[in-house]
């Protein structure tokens, strides 16, 4: 953005809202060997996506375990090309230990996405929800977020562009960017699109990368992408 020069010269900072898809690693058992082995396997199978991936550790499943060795955890992640940027969930004791090594507690105590939706808060189902409609191309570097609504895009979504919605996302133009539906954790949200050439699709935090989608069904017709048993399914309608 260009503002008048006088102001530009003074401003050193610009605050920008952003919604980055962040990978959450939920630790289910506190076993260093198991954790290391599983990380190694995962990183090996999906190399490009995991390079320098920022991650959050979810401690909800091990909050009764007392304090953890966060320094070691950080190191293990780093050797697997992931950067630990914070924790969520867990006990007060764990929070203290995290704070001691400079790890922010991101969404303290909030349970992970799947459980959040199981407690029904379906007030919008009865009301008519507004839908965000975009009719012009969404180019590389652009981001569109439909807050508390669905998103319909009738134009092309370029590689490097990003669509986010709290609800469903419908795309009628060519899709080459990233699409994240249900970003607040709505497991019911779906993505509908024509030919699927996306860099990433995500529903309520579960995602598939381009490589993951290589075996997805081919052929004509609209695709429907939805979540079933914590797995993303792609089917032709």
């Amino acid at each position: 953005m260009i503002t008048s020069s006088a102001r530009v010269e003074k401003a050193c900072l610009q605050f920008k809202a952003s919604f980055l898809p962040i990978t959450v690693l939920q630790i289910t058992c506190y076993d260093w060997e198991g954790i290391e082995q599983q990380l190694l396997d995962t990183v090996h199978n999906a190399p490009p996506f995991f390079i320098n991936l920022p991650v959050i550790i979810d401690l909800d499943k091990i909050k009764t375990l007392g304090t953890l060795n966060f320094i070691k955890l950080k190191e293990i992640l780093l050797t697997n090309k992931m950067t630990l940027i914070g924790i969520r969930g867990g006990s007060d004791e764990q929070h203290l230990a995290a704070a001691m090594v400079g790890l922010p507690i991101l969404i303290a105590g909030k349970s992970s996405a799947p459980e959040a939706v199981q407690q029904p808060k379906q007030k919008e189902d009865s009301a008519v929800r507004l839908t965000k409609l975009v009719t012009t191309p969404i180019r590389s570097g652009m981001q569109v977020y439909a807050k508390e609504s669905d998103l319909i895009v009738t134009a092309a979504v370029s590689q490097g562009a990003e669509l986010l919605a709290d609800g469903n996302i419908h795309i009628y133009g060519p899709l080459r960017g990233r699409v994240l539906a249900g970003v607040q954790g709505n497991l019911q949200s779906r993505i509908f699109c024509r030919a699927l050439d996306a860099e990433l699709v995500s529903i309520a935090g579960y995602y598939l990368t381009k490589e993951d989608m290589l075996q997805s069904p081919t052929g004509d017709g609209m695709r429907q992408i939805y979540l079933e048993n914590e797995q993303i399914r792609i089917e032709i309608l």
């Binding site: 953005m1 260009i2 503002t3 008048s4 020069s5 530009v8 010269e9 012009t136 191309p137 969404i138 180019r139 590389s140 570097g141 652009m142 092309a156 370029s158 590689q159 490097g160 562009a161 060519p174 080459r176």
Partner: protein, 274 residues
């Protein structure tokens, strides 16, 4: 009121300055009073391509800083009476261009000129944003390769949001795609994206295809923009593009591999002989 055209791309070295020079010459030789401005502060290429580097005394930044007036800085082209060049400055100060300064210069030029061609620097930073900010039309210069197409795509995103027209909610500027350094031979070999690949991704109207051509290098060395070399393929392609920009209906050329039928005939003959 002049029409302001920005020649932009995101990526460097794709042919923006070559295009700015040829477009300015093309418009001016049609009788439109045209100014071409070099926004690439610090590099100063346009005056070399236009062959007027020895006549640069004052530049764009001098005018903005009130060290010279516009008429002192504008250089009349050596071939065409109605064409003027406003050269960039050699200063290292990238912030020498200010929004007010650019606005004032463009406003003053608008009073007497028909077209103002803005040669954008590479990148998506301040200089490129200032070059596009006041534009009525954008010519997005793209090479048939993935990184250039991606940068052009990003540029188109900025053109739709970061121009004065967009900020004031007026009609959006008109977008034109100019595919340059196109080599049908390399497309056929699969080393380059084809015209249809690029069109599919960028999806904006095609102004023209400029072939990769020796004539461009010759033109820069002699300081006569390639559009003046009417015998050359690139020169003709630029003439066509200017005509299309002015609304004329000119069929596209230089997209197919040259002498293809001849090659096929020769191969056929070889087979016959063996």
């Amino acid at each position: 009121m002049a029409k302001i055209i920005v020649i932009t791309s995101g990526k460097g070295g794709v042919g923006k300055t070559t295009t700015s020079a040829s477009f300015a010459v093309g418009l001016a030789s049609r009788g439109y009073k045209t100014a071409v401005i070099d926004f690439d502060i610090g590099l100063r290429n346009l005056d070399l391509i236009m062959g007027c580097e020895r006549r640069v005394v004052y530049d764009f930044v001098n005018v903005i800083r009130n060290e010279a007036n516009l008429n002192q800085a504008l250089i009349r082209d050596k071939h065409i009476r109605d064409l003027f060049i406003l050269p960039a400055s050699q200063t290292r100060d990238k912030d020498a261009l200010t929004l007010e300064g650019v606005s004032t210069v463009l406003e003053e030029l608008s009073k007497t000129f028909d077209y103002i061609v803005c040669d954008s620097p590479a990148g998506i930073e301040r200089g490129a944003q200032l070059a596009m900010y006041f534009a009525d039309s954008a010519i997005v210069v793209t090479n048939p390769e993935v990184s250039s197409v991606r940068d052009s795509d990003r540029m188109l995103g900025m053109l739709s949001s970061k121009t004065k027209r967009a900020e004031e909610g007026r009609d959006p500027l008109t977008e034109h795609l100019l595919l340059t350094r196109y080599s049908p031979k390399r497309v056929a070999r699969g080393d380059m994206l084809s015209l249809s690949d690029v069109n599919e991704i960028l999806a904006i109207p095609l102004l023209g295809v400029i072939p990769e051509s020796q004539a461009v290098l010759r033109a820069s060395n002699s300081g006569d923009p390639v559009i003046l070399d009417k015998e050359s393929d690139a020169g003709q392609a630029y003439l066509d593009a200017v005509a299309r920009f002015l609304g004329e209906n000119v069929p596209h050329r230089f997209i197919e591999e040259k002498g293809n039928w001849l090659k096929r005939l020769l191969r056929f003959k070889e087979k016959e002989i063996s």
